[in-house]
């Protein structure tokens, strides 16, 4: 059966060239880079060469890159490590309401340790409210974290402007560190840490057609950060543990490839996306865009539509039966049975949010695949609408049901709005 992968926000396919670059480091060059004999030196050279390529993707200095195991680890190290290093200045942190769970749950942990956290809201397109951010800054604020690009609704923040707001309004001249989680942005759009002015930045190999198991944290030279794992001298003693050389080598190769073709690739992916968008709008009624308009600050490969009168999990399961893999932000598709926190943060109508369907495209997708989706999806929507009581009610009366006469709903579902 066909396999059409349109869920690149979850993981990306490993590039064949990346795979080939990794292979010798499993069985041939397995030395520990901390060992000074020849096999160790080969690994050490490979590690530093990869660091150079990884730094190159974001225009960082090589000494500013710390390798970790995944984006979650980088975000944990950034949030907890910076907060810990700066806590004598204050214990207040600001993060946006649409951050990844590795940021949200890290600050929740810090709350238990006596930090105060403010969540800066976003508008209905997912853009951070700049005025609110300015108001939230306090004398004891030590850290602000805003995700560069959101994987679910594609919003690209104006990080440079947010950094300047924070830096201009640092209370009492106290230093406020600015962290950004750029996992979804790196490799998709140009990212330049010098231009942005951020103090730390997370990115990951598995988001750029590299392997799972390697990620990086950019840490500006002047920034203080305390390690979160105690051990040896690896990664300048900021992140102990034997380096995962095959994955790091792959990460380096993936960053090199990502940087080379970024302009053309983003053009190609945008073209595919626009074809899919115009086709869907043409073929399906009662369909609403979640997130920024496509010509605005949106990731080139991201689409998030709500298809009314149908439910997202049912949609993606039927698509899966046709070999098409996508995601959804619907409550049913989430393990905690709540509409995604991102859709809630941008105030998507809860009933309509249930029909959320997320496509995230990559360089490996083709026009043929997009045409196949456009052929299959309208039939699936029709099939589900034909059995939807909400749709038949609407078809008969022209009215939209917002709630059933219902049983005691709380008995069945844990839901807070």
């Amino acid at each position: 059966m066909k396999q059409i992968y349109l869920d690149n926000q979850s993981n990306t396919k490993l590039d064949e060239r990346v795979f080939n670059s990794m292979k010798p480091f499993f069985t041939e060059y397995y030395g520990n880079p901390q060992s000074i004999y020849s096999l160790g030196s080969v690994s050490k050279d490979a590690l530093e060469s990869a660091r150079c390529k990884v730094a190159g993707l974001i225009n960082a200095d090589v000494r500013e890159i710390i390798f970790t195991s995944c984006g979650t680890e980088s975000n944990n190290l950034a949030i907890k490590g910076i907060a810990d290093a700066l806590k004598t200045n204050g214990r207040h942190i600001i993060v946006s309401s649409i951050e990844h769970f590795s940021i949200l749950n890290s600050v929740r942990r810090l709350e238990k340790d006596g930090f105060e956290v403010s969540f800066v809201p976003v508008d209905n397109k997912g853009n951070v409210n700049e005025l609110k951010l300015k108001e939230m800054l306090r004398k004891d604020t030590v850290l602000v974290s805003v995700q560069y690009a959101n994987p679910e609704i594609g919003t690209i923040q104006n990080i440079k402007r947010l950094v300047s707001i924070v830096k201009q309004n640092q209370g009492n001249g106290n230093f406020v560190a600015f962290h950004t989680d750029a996992v979804s942005a790196c490799g998709e759009i140009l990212v330049d840490v010098k231009d942005l002015g951020v103090d730390s930045l997370t990115f990951s190999a598995s988001a750029v057609h590299g392997p799972v198991g390697a990620a990086a944290l950019y840490i500006k030279k002047s920034l203080k950060i305390n390690p979160q794992m105690d051990g040896g001298v690896q990664e300048n003693s900021k992140r102990s543990g034997t380096e995962n050389i095959p994955a790091i080598v792959g990460f380096g190769k993936a960053c090199e490839i990502a940087k080379e073709g970024i302009v053309d690739r983003s053009k190609f992916v945008r073209k595919l996306r626009n074809r899919l968008v115009s086709g869907l709008l043409n073929k399906i009624e009662y369909i609403y865009l979640n997130g920024p308009q496509f010509q605005e600050n949106r990731l080139p490969g991201n689409i998030n539509f709500s298809i009314e009168f149908v439910e997202g999990e049912a949609l993606f399961l039927l698509l899966d039966a046709k070999g098409i893999m996508v995601a959804s932000g619907s409550a049913c598709a989430n393990k905690d049975l709540k509409l995604s926190h991102v859709l809630r943060a941008i105030n998507v109508d809860i009933a309509i949010g249930q029909g959320s369907i997320i496509f995230t495209l990559s360089k490996f997708n083709t026009e043929k695949e997009i045409e196949y989706v456009l052929k299959e999806l309208p039939n699936i929507v029709k099939q589900l609408r034909d059995m939807s009581p909400l749709y038949s009610h609407f078809a008969k009366t022209g009215e939209k049901k917002v709630a059933g006469s219902g049983t005691n709903f709380g008995e069945h579902c844990h839901f807070d709005v």
Binding site: F309, V310, E311, E313, A314, L317, L318, A321, S330, A331, C332, A333, K335, D336, L337, I350, A351, Q354, D386, M387, S388, P389, L390, Y391, S392, K401, V402, A403, G404, S405, G406, T407, F409, E411, H412, C413, F415, V417
Partner: protein, 125 residues
């Protein structure tokens, strides 16, 4: 292991008895689109037996599969037999449901019971 059992996927992809009954003897509706699930059941009753049953459901794969299974289980049963059906029986017949779906999607029997109550009140039984 797949998220849903083979039985759930079968009933979800090929749901039985989808539709409405224009001159239904009883109609029952449960759920709330806010959660993602809404089920409407239609029944025709003859000689105290479920002669025909149809449903429409808005919801996830589990919600649709549950509705389909309930419609099959109800068909041909007496009113009394239908009233002792429980949501757990449906989950069992479907080869189990993921734990987080047990309470949210498994409302089919409630909708069926509401249709029976509606039938009884119409007939003043």
């Amino acid at each position: 292991m797949a998220f849903y059992s083979k039985e759930v996927m079968d009933h979800f992809v090929n749901p039985r008895n989808v539709g409405e009954i224009k001159d239904a003897d009883g109609i029952g509706e449960v759920g709330n689109p806010v959660c993602g699930d809404m089920m409407t059941f239609y029944i025709k009753v003859s000689d105290n037996k479920i002669e025909s049953v149809k449903f429409k459901t808005f919801g996830c794969g589990a919600a649709i599969a549950v509705s389909s299974m309930v419609s099959e289980m109800a068909f041909g049963k007496t009113i009394e037999e239908v009233m002792v059906l429980a949501n757990a029986d449906v989950a069992k017949a479907l080869g189990g449901l993921p734990p987080n779906k047990m309470h949210c999607s498994n409302l089919g029997v409630d909708a069926l019971h509401k249709a029976v109550a509606n039938y009884k009140s119409k007939k003043k039984l």
